[in-house]
């Protein structure tokens, strides 16, 4: 999988170690989650979805926290920290992917446990709205403009989004608490966790954190490569423009 050509692109020894560790941990997670860990007393085998669901939601929120921190950094530095901006963007991209995964695996879990795919609880609703917000963040990253402009604009969205999380969560919780009569399903997703289940979950969180680091390092380097390619094409474009003028000096 890691051939010499990869090592000349965005891979280094460190990312290879992280990547292999992530794969091993993921295999381990699947083994423990699907086979070795016990079924839950209340939920039965449905609890096995938790071992991928909880680590992926952890990854998604970790990604958005990283994006938020980098966004603040970019704003303070007035957009002139391209490396930080790339980490913000890379982190948001991977966060959006895992938030989508989280939502779908959560719905599958909900379908088994509650009998419905969706429930208007604060966690789900906040996550769904946050997902849309970060799709908007990525849309802003795709706007026309200079790299610096892109960095500052998307950082604004990153900061507004992180300010939004507690407000959305609070408002939906308040909404739910005043409308309890709507709830017919009282099974919560909280499970009575035993030692092996906790261990499996722990393996999952480690594995997905490794995936996060691996993805962000690679994605940020891909962005850096794209910037370098642009820089090189600028040299060519400058040479072309220079050829337009017959060596005219100043007098």
């Amino acid at each position: 999988m890691t051939t010499p050509t990869t090592s000349r692109s965005t891979g280094t020894r460190a990312t290879r170690v992280i990547g292999i560790a992530a794969i091993v941990m993921s295999a381990w997670l699947s083994l423990f989650g699907l086979v070795l860990s016990p079924a839950d007393v209340a939920q039965g085998d449905a609890v096995r979805i938790m071992y991928v669901h909880v680590p992926s939601v952890w990854l998604a929120y970790l990604a958005f926290i990283v994006t938020a921190i980098c966004s603040v950094w970019v704003l303070v530095a007035r957009g002139r920290v391209p490396g930080v901006d790339r980490v913000a963007g890379a982190s948001a991209e991977i966060g959006v992917v895992f938030m989508a995964v989280t939502l779908v695996s959560g719905m599958l879990w909900g379908r088994i446990t509650w009998g419905v795919y969706w429930q208007w609880d604060a966690r789900l609703t906040t996550t769904a709205l946050l997902f849309i917000t970060y799709i908007g963040y990525l849309a802003v990253r795709g706007l026309e403009g200079s790299p610096e402009q892109r960095a500052r604009r998307s950082a604004v969205v990153g900061v507004v989004a992180v300010a939004e999380i507690p407000l959305v969560h609070w408002s939906v919780r308040l909404w739910r608490s005043l409308h309890q009569e709507a709830t017919v399903l009282d099974t919560d997703l909280d499970v009575d966790i035993d030692g092996l289940m906790l261990f499996t979950l722990f393996v999952g969180v480690i594995a997905f954190t490794l995936w996060f680091v691996w993805f962000v390092l690679h994605r940020a380097r891909v962005m850096a490569l794209a910037a370098l390619v642009e820089e090189r094409s600028l040299d060519e474009a400058l040479a072309e423009r220079a050829a337009e003028v017959p060596a005219g000096g100043q007098n």
Binding site: I132, G136, R152, V156, L167, W170, L178
Partner: protein, 231 residues
């Protein structure tokens, strides 16, 4: 000798100018309010049940105000970018915090007027019978909600001003962020109008939520608006 105006003076100047332009051009009065009103009428067809319509009224009012926000915020920056004025403001070194506060204030005033008309329309069209004590909750919640909406709308409309594709980008950015406002304002108005079977006093926690959202949006906007409009 001339000294440049401070933040508050700048904000007042910008807000006064925006409101004067609206007073002259009547875009909100002659275009956005009729659009919002026809929304309220169409909701009646969609729901087709007077009892349900009454219960839904607060939500429909604020949904309409949110849609109108998208139009008004777009309009607020269309006047800036029509002839390059936003760029000229930047070259002139006008404080972006002042620009933000001024434009958000003008937008909030327009939205508040619009919300008032929509509440009135709901009372008439949906046959509501509000309790007398609800006015205070109604007005304070509407003030907080329109301020919060205006602040968020100003940040993102400023960010998208002059960018191609802004018409579709703005709703994507604004709507998820204003969802707490929609929830809070709907519940507060529900309590104020007595449509949800709750007491008027139940509206106060929601007013508190709206006030927090308004302050948070204004603070975030003031801190980030300079970066949002730099091009």
């Amino acid at each position: 000798m001339s000294t440049p105006p401070g933040v508050v003076a700048t904000a007042r100047m910008i807000a006064a100018r925006d409101l004067r332009i609206e007073w002259r051009a009547r875009v909100v009065t002659n275009q956005v309010i009729p659009f919002a009103a026809v929304n309220m009428v169409l909701f009646a067809f969609a729901v087709d049940d007077t009892g349900a319509l009454g219960r839904l009224a607060p939500g429909l009012v604020w949904l309409t105000v949110m849609f109108s926000l998208l139009l008004c915020a777009q309009r607020a920056f269309a006047i800036e970018s029509a002839d390059g004025a936003l760029e000229a403001l930047r070259v002139a070194g006008v404080d972006p915090v002042g620009i933000f506060l001024g434009k958000a204030t003008a937008l909030a005033v327009q939205l508040f007027a619009l919300a008032a008309v929509m509440v009135l329309a709901a009372l008439i069209l949906y046959d509501l019978d509000p309790p007398a004590g609800g006015v205070v909750v109604l007005v304070t919640s509407a003030i907080c909600a329109t301020c919060a909406l205006a602040a968020t709308g100003t940040i993102y409309a400023g960010l998208a001003a002059g960018v191609s594709g802004r018409e579709t980008l703005l709703p994507l950015l604004v709507v998820p962020v204003v969802s707490p406002v929609l929830i809070g304002a709907t519940r507060a108005v529900e309590a104020a109008l007595g449509t949800g079977g709750t007491a008027v006093a139940d509206g106060w926690p929601w007013v508190g939520l709206l006030a927090v959202v308004a302050v948070a949006s204004a603070v975030v906007g003031a801190l980030t608006f300079g970066s949002a409009i730099r091009d």
